[in-house]
Structures are given as structure tokens and as C-alpha cells.
């Protein structure tokens, strides 16, 4: 079956521009997560959505970052006024629910480069 998909796979942008990254979770998965991996670092949690509940935004590094999840499915991560330190691989994951023992399935990521 289809896994988590993300688009674009690569994005190069200029400092100060806004970018949108898209995630299509596995059908039926109610929980969706965004992480990022900067060079030489582990995965850093950004935000997660669970059904219709308010998202947990505790990992967002600044107010330039925001995310939406429409219709409980597709999610968009938006970075406004990008900075060079935003360069990273942005990974999306989904799971059946936000529960401790639910496996998270990851997409291939979007590599963002801010020049």
C-alpha cells in the first residue's frame, strides 16, 4: 500500500522567501508529525496533529514556522522569511493514533536548502 509521501523532494530557496512543504499521510492514520534533521543532528520534533484536537506546536523553533492539516489528512508546513539555519531535511510521519506504542511511519523527507 501507499506510504507517507512528501513533496517536493528538494527545495532550494533564497533567504527571506516563504516555502511550503507538503505531506500526505497513510490513509486512515489520524496522527501526523513533522520533524526536521539538520546536518549532523538527530531528528528534531516540530509539531504533531491528532484528529481534530489542537496541534501540539511545542517543537516549532520560531513563529516563522506554522503547519496546517486540512480535512484530517494532508498537511502543509510553512516557513516564512526563511533563514539559512532553516536548511535541513524535513520529515513527516503518520501513525494510527497518538499513543505511546504506535509505530510512526516516515516519508522520504524534503531537503530544504536556503541560500
Amino acid at each position: 500500500g501507499a506510504g507517507v509521501s512528501q513533496s517536493p523532494s528538494n527545495k532550494v530557496t533564497e533567504k527571506g522567501k516563504d516555502v511550503e512543504l507538503r505531506c500526505d499521510p497513510i490513509s486512515g492514520h489520524t496522527a501526523l508529525y513533522w520533524y526536521r534533521q539538520s546536518l549532523g543532528q538527530g531528528l528534531e520534533f516540530l509539531i504533531y496533529f491528532q484528529g481534530n484536537s489542537a496541534p501540539d506546536k511545542s517543537g516549532l523553533p520560531s513563529d516563522r514556522f506554522s503547519a496546517e492539516r486540512t480535512g484530517g489528512s494532508v498537511s502543509t508546513l510553512t516557513i516564512q522569511r526563511t533563514q539559512q539555519e532553516d536548511s535541513a531535511v524535513y520529515l513527516c510521519a503518520s501513525s494510527l493514533a497518538v499513543r505511546v506504542y504506535n509505530e510512526q511511519f516516515f516519508g522520504p523527507g524534503t531537503r530544504l536548502t536556503v541560500l
Binding site: G42, F45, Y48, G109
Partner: protein
């Protein structure tokens, strides 16, 4: 400050031998741990997990050991195969009800034929 630490950025092992990847954590309240495997240009994939009520979990060639008193876990792969070459991430769900995972920086395993 890192809550999950993988102090070895890389490990090289001969095919057929054992690979041991280590992970330390800081908070004794953490109660569920996972290992993910990542190939280049792909997302991480779940490998094996362990709950704090156990000290060992085995799945085929993969075994995870948990030492709660030392706040340490390790992943053993035996025998190692070239296809195991990847970056391995240790992660925890933390000790609360949050859903996000807390990851280490990863260890790059190279298994040489």
C-alpha cells in the same frame, strides 16, 4: 541538552560479525524505546522497540537490551550483513502521553563484505 545520546557517530563491522550500537538517555521516567534504521534519501523505518518493563527484546537477527539502572540501551545485530549498512537512530517516546519521539543523533553502521 540532549536527552538521548548516541556517542558513536560511526561503526564499521565485518560481515558475519556482531554489530553493537549504543544509546544513553538522561531521564529515568522514559519508559519506551525504539530503534529506527535510515537509508540515504529515505525516511527512517521502525526496527525494534522495548518497554521499560523488559530488559530484552529479540526479533530475528536484532536484539535490544535495556539497562534501566544505567539508563542505557543497546542494539545487537548478529550476524551483520552488508544490507544492514545504514544510520541507526535510538528514540524514546518520553515518559508522558506525548506522541512525538525524541531521537539521538544516529550511528552510521558500515558492514563490510
Amino acid at each position: 541538552d540532549q536527552q538521548v545520546k548516541q556517542n558513536s557517530p560511526s561503526l564499521s563491522v565485518q560481515e558475519g560479525r556482531i554489530s553493537i550500537l549504543n544509546c544513553d538517555y538522561t531521564n529515568s521516567m522514559f519508559d519506551y524505546f525504539l530503534w529506527y534504521k535510515k537509508y540515504p534519501a529515505e525516511g527512517p523505518t521502525f526496527l525494534i522497540s522495548i518497554s521499560s518493563i523488559k530488559d530484552k527484546n529479540e526479533d530475528g537477527r536484532f536484539t535490544v537490551f535495556l539497562n534501566k539502572s544505567a539508563k542505557h540501551l543497546s542494539l545487537h545485530i548478529v550476524p551483520s550483513q552488508p544490507g544492514d549498512s545504514a544510520v541507526y537512530f535510538c528514540a524514546t517516546t518520553g515518559g508522558g502521553s506525548q506522541g512525538n519521539l525524541i531521537f539521538g543523533k544516529g550511528t552510521k553502521l558500515s558492514v563490510k563484505p
